[in-house]
Amino acid sequence: MTATVQMSEAKASASLAVSARGFSKRYGKDTAVNRIDLDIHKGEIYGLIGPDGAGKSSFMKAVAGVLSFEEGTLQVFDTQVDSEASAELIKQRIGFMPQGLGLNMYPDLSVEENIDFFARLRLVPEKELTSRKHRLLGMTRLEAFRDRPMKNLSGGMKQKLGLVCTLIHEPELIILDEPTTGVDPVSRRDFWSILARLLREQGITALVSTAYMDEATRFQRAALMYQGKVLAEGEPDVIGNLAQGTMITIDVDSQADALQTLSRQFEQIEAVGSRLRIWVDEADAMLAEQQLRDALAGFTIQHLECDTPGLEDVFVAKLRQEGNVVADLPAFEAGNNDKTGVAIEAHELSKRFDDFTAVDKISFTVPKGEIFGLLGANGAGKTTAIKMLTGIQLPTRGEGQVAGANMSTAAQLIKQRIGYMSQAFSLYLDLSVSENINLFAGVYGLDSKMRRERSAWIIELADLQGYEKELAGSLPMGLRQRLALGCALVHKPQILFLDEPTSGVDPLGRRRFWEILFNLARVQNVTILATTHYMSEAEHCDHLALMYAGRIVADDTPDNMKAAVTAEAGGLLEVSVDKPIVAVGVLEESQYKGAALFGRQIHLWAPDDQTNRSRITSLLADAGISVLGMQARTLSMEDVFVYRVLQQEQAREKNAA
């Protein structure tokens, strides 16, 4: 009996790559990780999901043996990691890629030199190195860029090179800290499919962190972390059960009033484009729908749809249930400006830098009071477009009207009428909150009465009561972002420009931010033009323009964009199988090119008809994989983005050939 127990324990520990018990990490007085227990099995992709400051990086560094910790035990393979000497023992078996896109590589060295350095540091024999390099570069499609200095690579390529460098010594466990942060959706998908292939072919274990909640489905198992604690752990479905509820999306007349009415009863509610998404604390969809319909008596509901909530919804619900309440927004005074007409009009705008065309003849129109989203990968030309429209840069060609003024001739006038918030949040980090507000008020020439009034409003808007004397640099990212937004709004601009406004902000912060934007647009009639990387945020916009290589390749409402892609591609099919990692390889080799792994499911572009169903089933059956289920999926904005960009890339390659 005892022998069996011992044996099964030994077996359990042999199948574990990492095992943490009561693990705590403190930096001075701050606790980054607070007594967590985690087990990571060999051969799985294990995810750490959570916003900035959740403690993901600290834990990963400790596992990689590059950070000491204060409490608890940490076993990596057979080694108790408790000293610098013991940490050295596991390093040959581990590959670690720290956070920050390409930051751990050497910008002046070429792709090949970077790989060679990592390999030689690990004493990979030269002959082995040549063949591994060939294989990995081929897999990541970096072969053509061997001699290019790392600093001249795109974000997605840097990230793939980072992965190659991490894998060159064939580690058994790879630890990737936020490998997809700051990378566009296409490169992100590419990255996940490469990772899936590697795991399939080499049977290694991966510990991967992400701040994107929607990436949870990429993992076999994951831990949802927040403020140093694990909120939930297990398979993505299990984590999804953290809070019980139903997500209802409605299309309703007089959206702003409906939102007002609903928010009295439902705490978790957001406007997405022309719709409203409401979390109902009721798992039964029928009952949830009834609750909502009762609350909306008197409103005309055009359309209603019940969904199982996504992880981000669940996460926010959980935080809310635990008492993390967000203060109410201050009142927004109704805008007195003319509600109709055009706020921004761009006509064939172009910007060239030497022989590089950053923006190539873009044209679009934004009506007053609309939330307009500019999407695109890094380097697509979004920031340059914004800089021209705000009068910071002169266009090489073309013209535009912004807030009723010509952008080439009346840049000064435009600057008085618009607010601009840049990627870096444009705050003075060494000034306090109120000093920052006063500075912006002074720059725009507000008198002292107005200044006091706007100051109070901004503090309330950004939920910064009690932080007035704090330095902007010491604020958490969410608060800092809202302060920057407040500063951009200090002079009551008619148009607000936002350049990647939510990078690094946690879901709660992002929600409040969009709530503010919604109120600004709907109540105050402020026109908003925003660029974003988060495809889930793109859904908040009334209208989208998708940029690729300086041009606008799609310009429509989110719904129409999805409809167009569905019509073209036939739809998205979700296949559940018993061996997903193998299955995705089989499908990739076949005609289903875009097959992508999402945890236990595979997504691929194909109409949901009998022909495809039987073809996929037989393809997989030949490889010894059984299909557990198959269903059509509604597209996300990310699907649309990836589809359109890949389409452009293929067209470009055809032209080049």
Binding site: V66, L67, L123
Partner: protein, 384 residues
């Protein structure tokens, strides 16, 4: 210790240095520039003092007295003037540094055996220069007085002028300056500048190089890999030591050929001692880089930790024995002084290992100590 891994670190570091054109240029141009700037700017010789004379007497004797100044190489004679207020204005605008006023009846008084008082007015803003100028004036004046006395004596006693002069000055001092016969300050300054520059530039290069890796985050590659601490540090530092040795040779060439400082010692011994000194100062950079987290902090700390000791406690400006007791202790605790000894020895005195082995030994111990401190402070598994 695995040579293959050390080589990997060296070759990576070297490529990064070579491709970073700005860094590479600064690494070699700045030390040479410092040598030129300080070499030309830090001359302590006082010569060609802009000078004028007010001669109220205007006699043959007064002209004769004035000619002693105008013909001196120490004074750059700007002309006679009658207007004292004009001269004092020129003194304030730096057109003049000194002038003398010869009173009326200068010749008459001297001929009558009465004393004559010449007034000299000096710019006292730089005490050292003023004191030297005063020394020149006093010397010229004393020489003139004794000559005058001697000619009296020879006329009165009927002896030759030479005998009269000897009789007036029974004790004469004969001075011969060893090692630097003409007392040119560049001879002594140029070698010491090598010490100052090699004190400052290697730590800068090293600290920036190591901290750059920390600041970017690529240090995690090192932490996470199997390269040992010693292998990494040796590999990381070697390129900077080599670059600094090349710099040392460039500085040596500038000191000997451009500034004409004599080099009397053994070049190989000089090179050996210099390598050790460079390792020593590189070690300072290493210790700093282990302690700080950002490049800006590395620059500030390096500047404070190297410039001050190199300038004040090394014997470059003030000889060590002339320092106060406490300052002497500090000077003995820092490496600069020992290398200054080696430089003065090899350049001016022609001494070698036999006389300077103690200094070399101390520098070696110093370098070893610094590397040991850097090694023990560097952790591959830090607390934050």
């Amino acid at each position: 210790m695995n040579l293959y891994r050390i080589q990997a670190v060296i070759s990576k570091e070297w490529r990064e240095i070579v491709r970073d054109r700005l860094f590479l240029t600064l690494a070699f141009v700045v030390p040479a520039m410092l040598m030129l700037l300080f070499g030309y700017g830090l001359s302590l010789d006082v010569e060609d003092i802009p000078f004028a004379i007010v001669d109220h007497d205007n006699t043959q004797l007064s002209r004769d007295y004035a000619s002693r100044y105008t013909s001196s190489r120490y004074f750059d004679f700007k002309g006679y003037s009658q207007d004292e207020s004009l001269l004092s204005k020129k003194l304030s605008t730096n057109e003049l540094r000194a002038y003398i006023v010869i009173p009326e009846n200068f010749e008459k008084n001297l001929m009558a055996g009465k004393p004559a008082a010449v007034q000299s007015i000096l710019d006292g803003t730089f005490p050292a220069r003023a004191a030297t100028s005063k020394g020149y004036i006093t010397a010229i004046n004393t020489a003139y007085s004794s000559e005058l006395l001697a000619s009296y004596l020879s006329k009165a006693k009927g002896v030759s002028a030479e005998i009269a002069a000897e009789a007036l000055a029974p004790v004469s001092v004969s001075v011969r300056y060893l090692y630097n016969q003409s007392l040119l300050s560049t001879w002594s300054i140029a070698p010491k500048l090598i010490m100052v520059i090699l004190m400052v530039s290697p730590p800068f290069l090293t600290a920036l190089g190591v901290v750059r890796e920390k600041e970017r985050g690529s240090i995690y590659n090192i932490y996470a890999s199997t390269v040992s601490r010693a292998e990494f540090l040796i590999g990381k530092i070697t390129p900077y030591v080599l670059m600094s040795v090349v710099n040392a040779i460039i500085l040596w060439v500038l000191a000997t050929f451009l500034f004409g400082a004599p080099f009397k010692g053994d070049f190989l011994f000089f090179l050996l001692a210099t390598c050790i000194y460079v390792m020593c100062t590189t070690g300072i950079g290493l210790v700093i880089s282990v302690l700080v987290e950002t490049q800006v902090a590395a620059m500030v700390v390096t500047a404070i930790a190297t410039v001050v000791p190199a300038a004040l406690y090394s014997g470059v400006l003030v000889p060590i024995p002339s320092l106060s007791g406490q300052a002497q202790i500090i000077a003995h605790a820092l490496p600069a002084m020992y290398y200054t000894n080696i430089l003065t020895g090899t350049f001016l005195k022609g001494t070698g290992m036999a006389d300077l082995w103690q200094d070399v030994l101390i520098l070696t111990l110093y370098a070893a100590g610094l590397f040991l401190v850097g090694y023990s402070l560097f952790s591959k598994r830090p607390r934050s």
